[in-house]
Symmetry: C2
Subunit: 234 residues, 2 copies
């Protein structure tokens, strides 16, 4: 029995929001496990990631099904192709959560290096970006999405600052090397989560405005506008 | 003037192969710059990456255009949705090349730590995987793609081994910390390139067999088969 297209599209949106929420939660849980030095909590992250992987498959199948059955055009077509890319991005957020949980497990077995300050801060920044990107996606809100792209630079700044601090720890006391290395890798994973949120925000702008801001194309050619009537050019 | 669908599909394939070749080349060039301590060569990588970014946009536009104008079904539909994901993966390969080039630039200004052996070896492994994944994609050769997924483990092994070696360098002589850190990050970028090649191989299996092997779905449910006639299930 064929369901109504609009209902299918709403279901797709719901699945993406669910996947977004799970992705945000996995990052927070992995850092919480790191902060509390809680190996059991870190291990939960591996199952959470499997659930996210299954959501990606379900979303991709729904997208292919929607394209095959309803052959949507214009805005809806862009929405569905963006959904395929966003599910890919969210799946990677899950992988970063797993990487962080791995570091949390290894660090839980070693003495504490120092209380974590910058890493929880980066986590709030990155997961906030993820939440706002998904929010902007639901509301097709290009203005919010555009602002979000700029927040990525702030996360990069904290990452660079933390990197320098941890390298100076290592130089002063080689006994800290293994632990400082793990924290550098955690920070790098969080920075990648912020990058992925930025990717999603770019897709939102694409959906809302049919304008590709990826790769700063705008800077080069004052905006590559994809006109709905002009999809078939050679 | 509307062009023939098969011709458009061939053009899409050609663009993806071109993008694949550029992605492979950028990884090799960035590591060559690292090996030869050649800052000028490292800087070339930044322009090469911009060309790859433009190819992603061109490929995505062509995919959306094909879906809008021709409303393809079954194998062709899967091929086009896979192309959207593959262009995303290749764009990230370019980003990893840029990261490696950044390390090459910073290391060119410092004394040499040691002659590179494992990193060029990882580069050959990762770029070989990328080439074979794209090859398998053109020939819709699922058997090759399946074998490729296993090679990812070998790259992970070299990465882990190199990580341990470099950490022991740092512990023995803190003066090596900054340089050893850079090499750890380079290796991690190469490991991610191998992961992306694996993603592409998984898409090839999906195209060829309409069977999702992502996330080892097979292990859990002996294969999630997507039937062409069954796309619209609720």
């Amino acid at each position: 029995m064929e369901r109504h297209f609009d209902q299918e599209l709403e279901d797709l949106k719901g699945q993406l929001l669910l996947m977004g929420g799970r992705s945000e939660a996995i990052v927070q849980k992995s850092v919480e496990a790191l902060r509390r030095r809680d190996a059991a909590l870190a291990r939960e992250v591996f199952d959470d990631d499997k659930a996210i992987d299954r959501l990606e498959i379900a979303i991709d199948e729904r997208c292919v099904g929607l394209l095959a059955l309803h052959q949507p055009l214009a805005g809806d077509l862009r929405f569905i192709t963006a959904a395929l890319k966003i599910s890919n991005d969210l799946e990677r957020v899950g992988d970063h959560g797993v990487n962080i949980a791995g570091s949390a497990l290894r660090l839980a077995a070693l003495p504490e290096l120092k209380p974590l300050v910058d890493i929880p801060r980066m986590t709030q920044m990155a997961s906030g970006m993820l939440r706002d990107a998904l929010d902007a996606f639901v509301r097709r809100d290009a203005a919010t999405a555009r602002r979000l792209c700029r927040r990525d630079d702030e996360v990069d700044d904290v990452n660079r600052q933390l990197f320098r601090e941890l390298v100076s720890y290592m130089i002063e006391d080689p006994a800290t090397i293994t632990r400082a290395m793990e924290l550098i890798l955690v920070a790098r994973n969080l920075e990648r989560v912020a990058d992925l949120a930025t990717n999603i925000a770019e897709e939102v702008v694409f959906i809302a405005e049919a304008r590709i801001i990826k790769h700063h194309a705008e800077d080069e050619a004052s905006g590559v506008t994809v006109d709905d009537d002009d999809f078939g050019r050679a």
